[in-house]
């Protein structure tokens, strides 16, 4: 009987994709910073973003810890709000407090109006339901990234 190991080392990005990504990085492609503690969603979401010729995920992080000092230059932040809210309830305002000045798009499945208002008051520039399609997420990221503005966040009052 042949047994197959379940775990294997599988490259997420093929060599030709790595080269294409590098070329896009040097040609004005908008750089996306992905923040979210749901690893599989974050990793899978990076895939269609990287396939878009106008976008590239420059960095992924599961939380703000460690990102504060190590964040690379980026044009837009895309964050998966819900799992982070469990671990870091003040995630959005903490993003605001950091040196992250790029526009921020928060994905959420929360129907709680308080959560949504907190996110907006904390500095999220756009909220998008997780019921959105990938195409809608990507077009929203591109829209925010195209503003090109580094913004001063409102912060909590």
């Amino acid at each position: 009987m042949i047994q197959v190991a379940l775990y294997s080392v599988t490259p997420v990005m093929e060599p030709q994709e790595t080269r294409a990504a590098f070329e896009r990085l040097t040609s004005g492609t908008k750089r996306v910073l992905l923040v979210g503690s749901c690893v599989w969603f974050r990793e899978a979401l990076a895939y269609p973003i990287n396939r878009d010729p106008g976008l590239f995920v420059v960095q992924q992080a599961g939380s703000l810890e460690g990102l504060r000092e190590d964040a690379v230059d980026h044009d837009v932040i895309l964050t998966d709000l819900d799992p982070l809210l469990h671990r870091e309830p003040d995630i959005v305002s903490r993003l605001s407090d950091c040196s992250f000045r790029a526009p921020l798009l928060a994905l959420t499945g929360s129907p709680d109006l308080g959560v949504l208002l907190d996110a907006l008051e904390g500095g999220a520039d756009m909220l998008l339901s997780k019921s959105a399609s990938v195409a809608e997420i990507i077009s929203s990221v591109k829209l925010l990234a195209s503003t090109g503005a580094t913004r001063t966040r409102r912060g909590r009052s």
């Binding site: 775990y7 997420v12 599989w40 969603f41 899978a44 895939y47 269609p48 019921s131």
Partner: protein, 121 residues
Amino acid sequence: MRQQREQNVLGSVRVLVAMEPQSYREVIGYAIQGLRPNIAVSVADPRMLAAEVARLGPEMVIYSSPGEPPAGITTWLEVPENPALPATLYQEGRRSELPEFDLPILLAVLDNAHLGTHQVA
């Protein structure tokens, strides 16, 4: 992405992604389609699970709610929306938990299902 994406890849394992919310199933569908082009992946609203299983006859289903795998499904992967909970894999009657579930593990499960299908064939 269309609500239901299908590839007719002769002889490949058929995977149905039926997760909530829509963005979850679509990103998984995109990633599988791009990283494992030899796998025929379909994406569907979980409320259509029974109908899509009957129509497509997938060997593997990726689902987001707790439940027992329907008859005829060789590999059933349950990925809860809450990342603090482990993913659960039912494969040929055996149940195992995947507490550190991520994209490489998903691809390994897919490869395993694909290999298993070809061994049976």
